[in-house]
Symmetry: C2
Subunit: 320 residues, 2 copies
Amino acid sequence: MQGPPLGIDLGGTKMLALCIEEGHTAGAESTVASPRSGSELVDAVAAASAALCGGNPRAIGIGVPGLVDPSGTVRFAPNLLGISGTSLLDALARRFPSASLWVGNDATAACWAEHTLGAGAGSAEVLLVTLGTGIGGGIVSGGVLVEGVHRFAGEIGHMVVDPSGPPCPCGRNGCWERFASGAALGVLGRQAAAGGSARRVLELAGGDPAAVCGEHVTAAALEGDGSAAKIMDRFGWWVALGLANLANTLDPEMIVIGGGLVSAGEALMGPVRRWFSGMVEAADTRDRTRLLLATLGPKAGAIGAGLLARNAEGRPAPFR
Amino acid sequence: MQGPPLGIDLGGTKMLALCIEEGHTAGAESTVASPRSGSELVDAVAAASAALCGGNPRAIGIGVPGLVDPSGTVRFAPNLLGISGTSLLDALARRFPSASLWVGNDATAACWAEHTLGAGAGSAEVLLVTLGTGIGGGIVSGGVLVEGVHRFAGEIGHMVVDPSGPPCPCGRNGCWERFASGAALGVLGRQAAAGGSARRVLELAGGDPAAVCGEHVTAAALEGDGSAAKIMDRFGWWVALGLANLANTLDPEMIVIGGGLVSAGEALMGPVRRWFSGMVEAADTRDRTRLLLATLGPKAGAIGAGLLARNAEGRPAPFR
């Protein structure tokens, strides 16, 4: 008898594995340091499977922080160079021949989870935008994932919104994630602290302007600090600009904001909602567009990967 | 007995109607001045139906230059203010109770035509980008249209790519169509002509820098004029920037370029392809992305609308 599905979120430093219980709730979980190669990863999956799902899960899904192609090969994973180029789906299929499998992008998996169980439940038109160190995205339209021909859709953080903006590690200038990620909020915070206009933010960072990061800004804003709220307003303008570009392109019913910046809550969403409504085309006819915070937190990617693997049951692996 | 489907492309000045023959080819057609109200439009459709399809078409589709909601109501059509607010699908259903109907955005219809019969045939992941006076877009993913919750998807011309750029009639600054439309090419041409660096372009415009428009630039470039080629190179950079943003978001297999600028052919596509390949994320792993010229020309919208109405057969009208 096979055990419940296993969902895995592979991060740059940690790997979260969890068991998907009946009713799609997240059950037992484990966290280990991220494996550094494809074979280490398969071993870690086997260990998690034994510990959480009786060693024989009916389905295994893995969300990867990078680009995964239709054959389940990791094509580009800058934070996990050891698994770049690995045919992860093939390796899993050899070790778990009777499990249905899904290997794909982590934000895609998180989007599926939020669409199925989270903030986007009940809508067939959901865009997930994860605001963390960088920006990731996942798209559901017509109730199905939009993954694109190479399965690389959702690389929204590298939408250029100002060609004369700061350089991005991707090689271009002015990518959206240079303005609207947690890293970008840290830049705004350091600028304000160095300029003497963010006393509380500076205090929270221990008095060193160079130590200010995004978390100090959101913490001060959540305390009600006015100068931090000003930074959040400017930051929210950039977030809203990219969201409006995406709303103009995709017209989702729900834009679900996930990632680490979710902890800023209304200190983030207030400014974003205010700016967004003036930025989207024909805003007064878009009564159904909603901006929402993700509800599944850091488990979304693992849950979504497990659910997608479960959905793949009965299809040959590699299933696409 | 019902006649063949009738496809209509409603432009800002002209209305093209055509009959869709067996095998999906475009048959008899007519062009009249665009009707100025919903009731005039229904009369014009009836006249075209009588002239082209025996008065009783099995299906009628209309592509509209604006935003059409799921009920078939035109919500925003800046170039056809007389039909804004009209429940076009309802009005057609009353006049043609036995025809299956489709009313939607003109670029969406053109995208469906190019996907079904044109440059995008054979691909399930097609993005159509129309470069004309403005920029429009249509999206096919997984072989179906991505229209969004209000059916407003594809408003890609209003993707902001430089917030300090020129003002757009939409109320914002630096929308992509301020840099990459036919109108924007005209601006580049006038600047070059006024600066004395585009002699042949200026000649073609009759010697008046203020009379230069996009067509003069493309005509000179097609003749092999070097200074016009320089303008096309800069223009192609902006086109490519937006296409790369969209490729990062949607990962289409084919980006089909339609609209008036198609007449520039390789004078446009050469620079666009050159710049694009360096702008898209992880370009060296995107071997399947192709940039193509549309093949159906100005009939694409009418053909697509007729095909979409044909596809709606058997569904109650309003069918969505």
